[in-house]
Every structure is written in C-alpha cells, then in structure tokens.
Amino acid sequence: MADVKKIATRDSYGNALAALGAEHENLVVLDADLAGATKTGVFKKAFPERHFDCGIAEANMICVAAGMSTTGLVPFASSFAMFAAGRAFEQVRNSIGYPHLNVKIGATHGGISVGEDGASHQCCEDFALMRTIPGMVVMSPSDDIEAKACVKAAYEHVGPVYMRFGRAACPVFHGEDFQFEIGKGEMISDGTDVAIIATGIMVAEAIEAAKVLAESGISARVINICTIKPLDEEIVLQAARDCGKIITCEEHSVIGGLGEAVCSLLSEKLPTPVKRIGVNDEFGHSGPAAALLKQFGLSADHIVEVAKEFVGK
C-alpha cells in the first residue's frame, strides 16, 4: 500500500469537529492540555469560543462535559485514550454512563502505535473498559473517511459515545461515497475459508493479508467492525456460517476487546473456532510505531501466518 494516501485518524477527528462545528452551534469541545496532539486544536482555531481547555485534569474534564450536556450542548471531551478511558473511567461510568448523558469522548493515541512514548501511554484496555458501561457506544474507525463519518454519527446519536483514534498515519481505503451507520459492520471483501474481523488500523492489515492469502489459495473474508459496541451480530454470525473459522484483529489487549466480544457472541449463538490477534496480556514499550506493530504481531504478515495455520493449507 506504499502509494496509498495515509492520514492519522486523530487528524480526521480534528477536521471532522471543525466541519461539524460550522453546522452545529451547540457542539463544544473540551481538552486537557493536549489540543495539539488530539487535534482538537483544529476546532479551536475555527471556534475558539467553543473550545475549553480544562488543563491537566481529565477526571474533572469528563464531569464538566457531563454538566454541559445537561443544558443542551453536545460536548466532545478529548484526551489520550489512556486518560479518557483509563484515568477517568469512573467519571465516565458514573457521571456520563449512569445518567446516560449526551457526551462524546474523543480518545486519541489508542493502542501500541503511540510508539516512542512507551507503555505508560499505549492504551490497550480502552475497549474493555468502555464496553462494560451500559448504553455506551464504542467505536474504533479504520481510516480517515470512516473516522470523519464516525464523528458525525456520534454527534447525531443521542447518548454517550466513546471513539478511539490513532496517532500514526494509516492508509485511506474507503471511498468518499462510504455510508456509515453506528452498529453496522462492513464486509470489505468476500471469502469462504476464514473470516478476518478487524477494527481500527488492523483493518488495512487484514485487507493486505487477504490479498497475500489469496495468492496461496486461501479465500479470506475481511470484515471491518468500527462499532465494537453494539456489535453487528448478524455480520459475525453470517461469517461464522459461511467460513466456519474466525480471526479477530485489534490493536488492543486480547482481553475484553473485539476478540472477546466476537467470542462471547459465537459461544452462545453459534460455537465457531476463533483465533484472536491482539496484544497478548502484556505491556508495550518504546519504539517506532511500525516496528512495534510488527513486533507485537499486529501486522498483515502475522495475520497471514495465523490464517494459514488455522485453515491448514
């Protein structure tokens, strides 16, 4: 995919906020001293009067956003995933989730591809944490086009939403005519031997892997799951019926994320063998994003390896 345009989904987030801000006066953005990194700075430049820096105080920021939402504003509260979902988990749970307030959490720097900052900032637990909150929509877009659509859908959705964006640039593979819907998975390519169900930046890797597998005579279906909760059950069940084998791929711990959501569904409704590709219950470390992803098995190469062994061809 060397010739493909690459954009980090955090940039998509900032751009989408600025575009939506022009249409909707009640959209406000909160940040915790990271506007440059989360890209809410793009919105701030366009609408400085609707951007509030809360300083390095994420717990407070989440609750301030909750309070604002009760007056009819639609706040997007932003920080790194580690702090938005991790540090402020209980604030999200009690002050946004429990009262079911209309707050959108835009969490950037999710996963291991944060890179050089190392394990303290590489959040691989956010899907797990956010999935457990009743009524919370959890989304992890795969490219620029989907990320922008996801932000728009989050604004239109009434209720709490958690969105995870990445730091590193990733390939743009959706077309401008892409139609996004919360809770709907996307079959990117059909296949019958195995279904690769991926989220976030792993979707591009899955697409790449399917091409390589095809050369070895393995027909792999690729499914993009942006909405981890509520999960598109039908697309997963159909993949299980058609392919009989499922591989999940996510830049997240294998505990509590997309892989577990798929396993939970299948074990109850259609027991199907599943291989989970993700971070295997370990912390990351410093290094360039691309090298880290490879080292942690979050790559097309590793998906190919797992698929070949799984399918037995």
Partner: protein, 281 residues
C-alpha cells in the same frame, strides 16, 4: 428577611428533618447525619433561593442544584417532596426495590434532581460544567452545589475549583457542609481538609464562612454569591451533624445508619416538639 419568613423557613426545615428521619427509617439504611446537618441549607435553597418550578422540573432556564455529597439524598428528597416535586408520602420508599427514590440521587427517576451523583468529588465538576454552559449560551441561571467536608479530600474537587475560578464562573456557588465528621471520625483526624476557607480563597473563590443553621447568615451569603462578579463564590458553613435529633448530633456513627423503630419514634418526637414550639402550639 422578616421574622415571619425566618420562622416559616425554620418550620419547613423541621419538616425536612422529619422527612429525612422517616425516609431513612423506611429504607432501613441511608445517611441521616449529613442530611440533617444540611437540612437548613436544603430548605433555604428550595424555598427561597432557587428559581425552580415543581410543575416544570426540567425548565431550561431554571437554576440548578447538584448534590455533590450525593449520599445525603434523603435531605434533598425531603426538600424536593415538601416543595411539591413528588409526594411526601413516597419518602419511606427510599432505597426500596423498584422505588424511584434511589439510594443516591438519580436525575432520570427523581423529579427535580438535576444530576445523578453519589461518587464523591464529581458533582462539583458537573455543576461547574453547567455554569460554564450557562455563560456560553448567555443564560442567566445560577448553579449551586453542596459538598461534604470529607468529600473535599477528593482531589477532583480542587480540579473543579481551579476551573471555576479560571473561567470566572460567578454564576457558580459551591457550598461546603462543614459538620466536622466523616465515616471514620473527625475530618481533622482522618485527613484534615483545614483550613478550608483559606484554601478556597487561594483557589480564587469569594468565600463566606457562616453558621449553616442561621437563616440570616445563609441569606447574607447567598446574596453575596449573587452579587459577586468575576469569580465563583464558596460558602463554608459550620454545621452540626445530625442536627436536631439529640442522639444523632455530633456522632459519626449516624453518618450512614438508619434509625430503628424506637429511635425513629424518639427522633420524630423531638422534631415534633421543635415544630410545636415554632408554631407556638
């Protein structure tokens, strides 16, 4: 305020206290101590200060009150019920299964509750968010929040204070119920929050230190809060935990314990005597 008005507030506060005792007795659980210490404040807010309408509890331009010390829901519920937001007769269903009167305030089930609270330290941040939102939308409603003196041990409280002062939220008023006791004992012994007034001043608040059982002082502080421009106001009110129920007064043991039948009878008897005296019977 006139003597008659003050007397009427005292009568209402006594009824709020009866509601607290009745609710926690009915629940066989709950937090009477800190509800009773704040009963005069609840009364003043809902019967004098707040621009609220029981017939239209979600009116967009109403004043807001966030009970940051959410465990004292019995006090808030009792005041709301007496103010007409829901039937006083429902108070004994507090904490019962399927009752709308949840153990901690739930904005989606209890008419008049502006925010779901219970986890300490969060309500003040939410209230600050409401105040900031009012400023942004050029609305002139005011936002009040009540904190416990133990609650201010939560670091998030000070994050919220920093924000309220930074954004000059003069439509925001944080009240601290300084009854001096928390679950494990004296706040000064458990983890001293003192000096509270100095800390709040240092954080940029206009601070009023008052007796939280004196309606004249409460009124003066609320007036100061409304008149103060360019900075938020804090009211630090010295109170008696368990106020007006003799065996609960200044006793940390009554932080989170319900009166049994005999205790309930005694407490109601004491409050009835106060009421009779106020009403001149």
């Amino acid at each position: 305020m006139t003597a008659a008005e003050k007397k009427q507030l005292a009568i209402t506060a006594c009824k709020v206290r009866m509601g607290i005792v009745t609710a926690t007795h009915g629940a066989k659980a709950g937090h009477p101590g800190g509800s009773l210490s704040a009963a005069d404040l609840f009364t003043y807010l809902y019967f004098k200060e707040l621009n609220v309408d029981p017939a239209n509890p979600k009116a967009p331009d109403r004043d807001r009150f966030v009970l940051s010390k959410g465990h004292t829901a019995p006090g808030l519920y009792s005041a709301l019920a007496l103010r007409g937001f829901f039937p006083v007769e429902d108070l004994p269903t507090l904490r019962h299964i399927d009752s709308y009167l949840q153990g901690h305030p739930n904005m989606n089930t209890v008419p008049g509750v502006d925010m779901s609270t219970g986890s300490l330290g969060q309500g003040i941040s939410v209230a600050a968010g409401m105040a900031k939102a009012a400023k942004l939308q050029n609305k002139d409603f005011r936002v009040y929040t009540l904190l416990g003196d133990g609650e201010i041990q939560e670091g998030q409280v000070w994050e919220a204070c920093m924000l309220a002062a930074h954004y000059k939220l003069d439509n925001f008023c944080a009240i601290v119920d300084n009854n001096g006791l928390q679950i494990d004992g004296n706040v000064a012994d458990v983890m001293s929050p003192y000096p509270i007034v100095d800390k709040l001043e240092a954080f940029g608040f206009k601070v009023c230190a008052i007796d939280g059982h004196d309606f004249d002082q409460i009124e003066a502080a609320m007036n100061t809060a409304r008149e103060t421009k360019g900075q938020p106001t804090a009211i630090v009110m010295k109170t008696v935990k368990g106020k007006d129920v003799s065996f609960m007064e200044n006793n940390a043991g009554w932080h989170g314990k319900a009166p049994n039948d005999a205790e309930h009878e005694q407490a109601i008897g004491e409050l009835k005597a106060i009421l009779a005296e106020l009403e001149g019977k």
